[in-house]
């Protein structure tokens, strides 16, 4: 379940008491109900949207931090692999 994708709020409005906004998903725009994130978002923020409702604000700091950790991990692997290769070339078992 739970097809939810991130998009950027480009406009916010009120539809007869319901907080709504226009969210841009990489070039596609749709009206989204912002009731569940109303207190924490503004134009320019990213939200995760499921069936036309924003269910969370994307924590961009956390996202960046953990992505960097992931990226470092993949690069470390490359270094380890190269070290293994170098060892093998010298006849040292990894």
């Amino acid at each position: 379940m739970c097809l939810g994708i991130p998009g950027r709020i480009i406009e916010m409005a009120d539809d007869a008491g319901l907080p709504v906004g226009t969210v841009d998903f990489g070039g596609v725009r749709r009206e989204v109900c912002l009731s569940y994130v109303a207190d924490e978002v503004g134009v320019g923020d990213y939200v995760v949207v499921h069936v036309g409702f924003a269910i969370s604000k994307v924590d961009e700091e956390e996202a960046k931090r953990t992505f960097e950790v992931l990226r470092e991990m993949s690069q470390l692997d490359e270094l380890e692999w190269m070290a293994d290769l170098a060892d093998a070339a010298e006849g040292v078992s990894p």
């Binding site: 379940m1 097809l3 994708i5 226009t22 998903f25 990489g26 070039g27 596609v28 499921h50 069936v51």
Partner: protein
């Protein structure tokens, strides 16, 4: 299906299906989606009654002998709703669609007929726009609409307007692409980015509407085919326009007809707004309809020439290789994922449905 259902038939009065789902006592929308149900309808109901070797080849058009030469005849019926959508209207589709079917058989399109079913109450202004589109498009494609028919039906039928176009095209010597000619080693090319038409329509459908920079890609593929004929000739094995059912269906049909396997590389070209719209609705661009994109199976040594031939035209400027033909898993289309895994890209039973899962 359950024979032990305790469902009270009175609760479903008038709706209880007398036969199990498998036998389809009624025509379903899925029968028109270009997927497995469509194939089944054709195989089980049409072919046994109309069967002849021209029809059985199941090409985009039929190649028939005429006085010592061969021509191609093709027909297509257009029932799109809404009639007008970003990038065009049903008129553009009606001309391009049949022109492209003829071109996929290697023919130069020459003449079209146009049959209309109009709904009582249709705005004349809408009809005018459709007819203008057809006239303009036919002229641009170098075809003439030489005969036609018009019927009007009661309000509530025909979704405004249905149109059928039937076309005739002439074949050159020795250029006979056909869905059963693909061979292991062949390169698989697409002429442009995928999913524009289907998503342009989705964007304006009630209940799913969204705002997007997506326009239908409706276009004639005939100039690309002419260039392919001139620079590659016999090296072109199969051509298919990736209409309903998308690229996935076109590939499955050719894999099946030729008895070969298809292997797709990790990614196929999809414009960013199409990708975004597909993500939002949970749709796979491989199955979304196109109206101006074709897939070409060519001999491997002709790959570079074929790409150059297509890229020389605006409609083909983003032509690219997407895969190759393999001897393994005949009839199946497989995609190698970026991780090195494999995913079978099967025909869908019916239309692709937006999902929440």
């Amino acid at each position: 299906m359950s024979a032990t259902s305790t469902l009270r038939s009175s609760a479903l009065q008038g709706v209880a299906c007398p036969t199990p789902v498998v036998d389809h006592a009624k025509v379903l929308l899925g029968h028109g989606s270009g997927g497995k149900l469509s194939a089944q309808l054709l195989r089980d109901r049409f072919l046994p009654r109309f069967g002849n070797r021209y029809l059985e080849a199941l090409g985009d058009g039929a190649r028939v002998p005429v006085e010592g030469t061969e021509i191609v005849v093709s027909t297509d019926t257009f029932v799109v709703s809404p009639l007008e959508f970003p990038g065009g209207n049903i008129g553009h589709l009606a001309v391009h669609g049949t022109v492209n079917d003829l071109a996929m058989m290697g023919a130069v399109p020459r003449y079209l007929s146009a049959g209309f079913v109009l709904e009582e109450g249709l705005d004349m202004a809408v009809l005018d726009r459709v007819l203008d589109a057809m006239a303009e498009t036919a002229a641009a494609c170098g075809v003439e609409i030489v005969t036609g028919d018009t019927k009007v039906v009661d309000r509530g039928k025909a979704d405004g307007l249905y149109v059928n176009t039937t076309g005739v095209g002439f074949l050159s010597e020795a250029f006979r692409p056909s869905p059963d000619l693909a061979r292991p080693g062949d390169s698989i090319l697409v002429s442009g980015p995928l999913g524009r038409h289907g998503m342009a329509i989705m964007a304006v459908r009630e209940g799913l509407s969204f705002d997007a920079d997506i326009e239908s890609d409706t276009a004639s593929l005939s100039p690309l085919v002419t260039s392919l004929r001139e620079s590659v000739g016999e090296g072109v094995r199969c051509l298919r326009d990736a209409t309903r059912g998308g690229l996935a269906s076109a590939l499955n049909e050719i894999a099946s007809a030729s008895g070969v396997g298809v292997e797709l590389a990790g990614s196929v070209p999809v414009p960013p707004p199409v990708e975004a719209a597909c993500e939002m609705l949970g749709l796979d661009p491989l199955y979304v309809a196109n109206e101006g994109v074709m897939v070409a199976f060519v001999a491997p040594e002709a790959e570079a020439r074929a790409l150059a031939a297509m890229r020389a035209h605006p409609v083909g400027e983003h032509a690219t290789k997407v895969g190759r033909v393999v001897p393994e898993h005949p009839g199946m289309v497989v995609l190698r994922t970026a991780l090195g895994g494999t995913r079978v890209v099967d025909m869908l039973p019916g239309d692709q449905l937006p999902r929440i899962c």
